[in-house]
Symmetry: C2
Subunit: 509 residues, 2 copies
Amino acid sequence: MDLTGNLLIGNSAVPGSGGEIFGIDAATGAALPGRFAGATKADVDRAAALAWAAFPAYRETALEARAAFLEAIAENILAIGDSLIERAMAETGLPRGRLEGERMRTVNQLRLFAKEVREGRFQELRFDAGDPERKPVPKPDLKLRNLALGPVAVFGASNFPLAFSVAGGDTASALAAGCPVVVKAHSAHPGTSELVGIAVQKAVMSSGLPEGTFSLLFDAGYEIGQALVADARIRAVGFTGSRRGGLALMDIAAKRKQPIPVYAEMSAINPVILFPGALAKRGADIGRAFAGSLTLGAGQFCTNPGLILAIAGEGLEAFKQAAAEALKAVPAQTMLTPGICKAYREGVAKLMGHDTVKQIAAGQEGTDHQGSAALFEVKAADFIAHHELQEEVFGASGLIVACQDLAELHKVIGALEGQLTVALHIDADDHAEAAKLLPELELLAGRLLVNGFGTGVEVSPAMVHGGPYPATSDGRSTSVGTLAIERFLRPVCYQDFPDALLPQPLRKG
Amino acid sequence: MDLTGNLLIGNSAVPGSGGEIFGIDAATGAALPGRFAGATKADVDRAAALAWAAFPAYRETALEARAAFLEAIAENILAIGDSLIERAMAETGLPRGRLEGERMRTVNQLRLFAKEVREGRFQELRFDAGDPERKPVPKPDLKLRNLALGPVAVFGASNFPLAFSVAGGDTASALAAGCPVVVKAHSAHPGTSELVGIAVQKAVMSSGLPEGTFSLLFDAGYEIGQALVADARIRAVGFTGSRRGGLALMDIAAKRKQPIPVYAEMSAINPVILFPGALAKRGADIGRAFAGSLTLGAGQFCTNPGLILAIAGEGLEAFKQAAAEALKAVPAQTMLTPGICKAYREGVAKLMGHDTVKQIAAGQEGTDHQGSAALFEVKAADFIAHHELQEEVFGASGLIVACQDLAELHKVIGALEGQLTVALHIDADDHAEAAKLLPELELLAGRLLVNGFGTGVEVSPAMVHGGPYPATSDGRSTSVGTLAIERFLRPVCYQDFPDALLPQPLRKG
């Protein structure tokens, strides 16, 4: 399929006139076919105006029609066929199997939200019957429903070119809630973005939905995304990316005449706590499993297990030895972009050069575009004293914090920032100690897991992919799973309304 | 009952050592019995430390125990007897009937949240069964529950000394959610606050709940409230008051190392839209009803109907004439505090002196501590051109915006800021025009009502007392009704947990 490099503004495909963007072959750094041109502020204005115009009709679409629209997007993505996978492979360096899996995840995510829309629970319909005879004052008739917030700006992530990008979780949940979406494509995979964007645009048109329900903008820099968040017609933001990027958007959103919510999933090092009983029994097994999780997808997951907390001793030695051996055999892997690769190498170099940090293992060397796994160790007291050791190194780098005892382990946990996940490796005889920690861990992360690693994020009703600041901008929400729809809704109450003036879902019958 | 003037910190009553506060007789400006002394930063630290220490146990109280605690608070408030009403009457100038009604509302609100806690729906329990056989990867077992955010700082409002104060809606919903509460009492009713604070403190002790579940602090200025919001152990804020106060707290909360949500209900002028059909048929009736709503409680309601939008003509003239006649007969009413009375007079004087504004009616004159009703009129174009005419004048002052036609009415609505309520007065033949406006009105306010005024705020499941910024800091929430509990919760997911380590509500059986 030929790429046009056009912006998708409402139902049109429009050549951009901003800065040029090229897809980059992640494995070689060479430019890929297709020339994308960035949007201008006039394009932002046009996309926002169309989204605003589409909003009243789109938010009142019948549930069945909205669900069918989400399913049509899923069908259209599948219909692109292998050219989508091939383009995504080239742009991201991710292997075929991973991207085929991610496509299925993206499609199933859209279908799950279609199901959620059909069930209609998100509307939170409430009915308080009135009572004109009540004393001392009559009781009014009250009806409540959740209403879509308004057009949502979605920022695609580099590390999930399908599942957290143009038609990923933020887009799916915002569309499900009844919000038009304007996507600022991630410039690391413009071709993948265009292909998926066309799939969404086609679904808008074939479903007879108002023009402006969806638009897709490219930008070589930050200006267009910032203009989008500042636009008065945009009413919420979904973002997955760096902490710096997320904080910048939060700042813009807070300074607007009407501030808007920003749901930014920013950074985490996802502590893994190894308890003494589990370490004693199967330290080496856990070490091998950890090495696998750390290096999955070149470690480029928000939920990558970057921090290991354990009490020093034989069990931890067995863990380290097994992890180190496994890591040594792991080939270097192509990273998503030259910039990410460079940042990873700098992060690893910083740890190597840190006075208090000791390197335990290194994966195999690769090309200039590849990252090698790395494992480090630091003493608990040094970790606590050096806050910079909590900075995420995006990629397959892990840091073991060796504690003298459980009391010191508690101290380390007390020093941690908000996280997406915390994993506990425990045996039956660790339960009592684990139970003591849980009240603190519940406040530290959105998801706690036992005897596993957080790298798999199931898309389902009970998932929470979120967590206290600074893991996300808003720890009251999740960006994965059906609960994500609630980010884009607000309650409205209708008092003493005649049936004919009520919104459809609140009418009789 | 003698007032001690003490701070209530955990289970203790402690003399404050900050600035002095006296209850002021609203009708005379004279100091009432009882000398209250403000908290120091050390008191804030102690209250926050106790709240933080209480949090793990309090948030895991069994639903029945938590519900019984809320009911015990209600009983203890009733048990204070008439001395509570008398003190509140003196401190606020509000009449007996109103305060007895407000006490019942406060008590019923606590009981309603007790019911909500018993039903347990707010926990949002979700269960996704795992499937170890699933290909290509096993499906994890996921369980979700809502968890309390942490200790909440509550700022009492001056205009509802019971229902939006020490044991008012914010406190009731935060305690229901499982959050300890530290109240910063409003200095306009310190005696009322102490009496209710002791009622809550007693309920904490008799219910065997951890010390620190509740504390009450006084302060003559702003410093203590600000220190409270800045304290790392406070995790959310409930506030009802001025826009300036709300914005100051939002700013402090956003600048913390870990930002926290602020639920501030700040200001509104609550537009009332009179449609041509309704005006033609019953303009005078609506005018009389409006005068009653405008002057209820000296107009000191967040939902006071401060703005009337209508198309100029005979119907509007009938409305104006009836409203003016009714208002002329309304006696001046004692206002809550000398400061509020002064601000009201200044607001009215500003309208009187405004070039584009014409006074239509004035209520009867009263004492220095009383406010007289006032009604003004302005042309739509002038209203749009003068943004300052949207500023709330807290008290019984209303402004009629006369439009030439429906198109101009639309323009006025487009120029309005976020509101708590919008009221529509319509007849059957106005339905078509009203329907055209509704999509815009839904975005303007949290509650829309037909053929009534917003001054009564029912405490029930379908109520929304909230609305887009700047009516509140967060239009996704309500501060009245059972939905208010959701402000103080966040979802947490437990993956592959052994039953014994799960929190109680997620365990088997």
